[in-house]
């Protein structure tokens, strides 16, 4: 079951629990920031790198065991840093995300180049504990830190023509050595319908396990769309584009018959490589049944009422 905590339901005592408060202090110290004003800022960030200060715990969560942090940070599909699961951790060690900028373009009233903090600063960080289901039939449960994508997009004021949102990953073969081989059509691209992008479950994530996002998991900022296969949750985002037409997406370009634009987790839609009926939860040996929309059917099924999901897979 999904538990969604309403902001007004959180007792005062829970807002900043003691260990968290202390952790925040550590972050502050690490970031080298001293000063009263900054204590109120959830983006306790120095210029060097994005550090996360205060956040609301478990704004949305599930009653399932959280995947070991070690597993979630050492078993990654992030082809920009290599195609083996262990590659991203090894090859992203020196990846720097300083002065990260995001280009916003297309059908919106506030296009432009935004510094990561400027784009995110107005919003408070929430912890969201979501299932992550990879198309390769394995899954994890991850405590993300992020803000609803809808909040960020609304601040950019999309026009009435904005029916889709496209995202782009950094393209820099020097910093991302996996891009030196053309295993995919770089830069990595993903996209959502505007309704999917505005859905309250969709977040832009900047951290996990109470910490800043590790490089191998998509630092400094990535998408998390929990009811879709993992490859939809694009990492290391440098571009957001509102458009009237459906954007092309990387895996769809690579193998259109296997990876559709929607790519919702769906045990009923067969995939030529992996049965999607079941999945292996990382940390377990045997497989478990895969849930429709990865267990988020109650929240998102209505988005697809008029859509034949076997055609629009």
């Amino acid at each position: 079951m999904i538990k969604i905590k309403k902001r007004w339901e959180i007792p005062e005592s829970e807002v900043t629990p003691e260990p968290l408060y202390r952790r925040r202090r550590e972050f502050m110290q690490a970031a080298g920031t001293i000063g009263g004003a900054l204590l109120l800022n959830p983006w306790a960030a120095a210029q060097a790198s994005l550090a996360i200060g205060d956040y609301q715990e478990k704004v949305i969560s599930i009653d399932e065991e959280i995947t070991e942090e070690e597993d979630a940070t050492s078993y990654n599909n992030f082809y920009e840093f290599g195609t083996d699961k262990e590659d991203p951790k090894r090859n992203s060690k020196r990846f720097k995300t300083d002065d990260w900028q995001i280009v916003v373009s297309g059908e919106c009233d506030k296009p432009g180049t935004y510094g990561l903090e400027d784009l995110m600063k107005p919003f408070s960080i929430e912890e969201r504990i979501y299932r992550l289901r990879c198309v390769e039939a394995w899954s994890m449960v991850i405590p993300w830190l992020g803000v609803p994508l809808a909040s960020v997009l609304k601040s950019l004021q999309p026009t009435s023509k904005a029916r889709y949102v496209g995202f782009k990953t950094l393209h820099d073969p020097v910093r991302m050595p996996g891009q030196q081989r053309s295993v995919l059509n770089w830069p990595y691209r993903e996209g959502l319908t505007i309704a999917e992008a505005m859905h309250p479950l969709t977040i832009l994530s900047v951290g996990m396990y109470g910490k800043t996002m590790p490089n191998q998991n998509g630092a400094p900022i990535r998408l998390v769309v929990p009811w879709k296969y993992g490859f939809k949750s694009i990492k290391s985002i440098v571009g957001i584009e509102f458009s009237e037409t459906q954007p092309r997406t990387s895996w769809n370009i690579a193998a259109p018959r296997e990876y559709g634009f929607y790519s919702n987790v769906n045990p009923e839609v067969n995939h030529p490589r992996w049965s999607q009926k079941r999945e292996r939860r990382i940390g377990e040996i045997f497989k478990r049944d895969t849930l429709m929309f990865n267990g988020y059917a109650e929240e998102v099924a209505e988005l697809y009422d008029d859509l034949d999901l076997t055609v629009n897979f």
Partner: protein, 202 residues
Amino acid sequence: MWLKSVWAKPLLHLLCLLPFTGLLWAAFNGGLGANPVEKLTHETGAWTLRLLLLTLSLSPLRQWTGQAAWIRFRRITGLYTFFYLSCHFLIWFVADHSLDPGAMIEDIVERPYITLGFSAFLLMIPLAATSNQFMIRKLGRKWKSLHQLVYLIILLAVLHFIWLVKADYLEPGIYAIIAVILLAHRVGPIKRIGIKSAPVVR
């Protein structure tokens, strides 16, 4: 010549068992990463393919080096191929399908790369079963025809790997090139040399 040394075969046994003991050791020491089942499946599959290619390269090695002794090792490498293949199959059947034959058959029917892999496994069984001296004598000339199935098996195995890969074809590509070279070798030169290619099994 070291090829004919009495130590050659025991050494080969040790070498063939090395990946297996390595995996076993890793399994008990948390060395298989976040998804140990996937790791074991991939590793046993890769070693099956490597040993199969090694087995198929012994006959060309005999011709290129003029050393008939290479052929002595063919049964050992062939049987270890079948050993790793059996591990590969069992891990998949037990951990991926929880020993459910229905689920397994569904997977075989629905996914072409599994159809190929499973066919290769089935075809390997009679080869392993007839690799002993008794069956070689009993089958006579038919033994050689039967064991030429290995050419089909290597094609199935390489295609199985290529087909399951998502985007990075480097490793299966390397195996495919080696397999093509080894197979091409048999189409041309062997026929001309003729008699020399008669089976020598010890």
